[in-house]
Symmetry: C2
Subunit: 144 residues, 2 copies
Amino acid sequence: MNKDEYFMKIALQEAALAAEKHEVPIGAVIVCSDQIIAKAHNQTEMLNDITAHAEMLALTAAMEAMSSKYLPDCCLYVTLEPCVMCSGAIGLSQIKRVVYAAKDSKRGYTRCQIPIFHKQTEVIRGVCEQEAVQILQTFFKARR
Amino acid sequence: MNKDEYFMKIALQEAALAAEKHEVPIGAVIVCSDQIIAKAHNQTEMLNDITAHAEMLALTAAMEAMSSKYLPDCCLYVTLEPCVMCSGAIGLSQIKRVVYAAKDSKRGYTRCQIPIFHKQTEVIRGVCEQEAVQILQTFFKARR
């Protein structure tokens, strides 16, 4: 297992925690110098707040952990392609790398025709994609 | 003074509060049935959190006030055109109306080539634009 897969598995564990709480199962982890500085899962139901996506919660926690508004030495792992809100926040944070698992053709930021992330930000897609898709499909199938 | 100007003046007061605290002066107000249910100003410096834009803080406060993740009967007043992050959050909230004062050609959401807001959301631009531009210009001039 490489480093990206290792950290994505932890993001998937966060997604599983969300599912247990009847939240849409999306998890995020933020890493700096190979150390996890923040992890979070979607909490929109519990907090009754549509902005409480895994990425937003992880970014806020990481900024607190780093005592910095910017995260240019950090990497975000997230189990689903970020939405427009989260990608905007990722762009503002100037994070160095974004690694995501499953793509979101309906709500994902890649629909936007303009660069949203910082120009230096590297994006890696498809790490542990199968597991991320499966956890989402299982969740929604149970609710149909 | 019409209703939109009245509520935008309150958003401008929020922006002035931000300036007093050495925050970039942007203010937001959320109204439901002609009642203010949330107001906020940019707090990125104080909270050391780049996601703490006026609109994000106002949306979260409004969702708490309404005990609802969605705000389909509400109107957001904000002194500057929302950025991509905030426009994504506005879209998720399904807010009914967005009224903004000054445009932001560099960071504003209108650069995006796709619809971000809910398809029913009405957008009004330019209400109290002069005052909003002036408060921003005064702030940045003093820092140059």
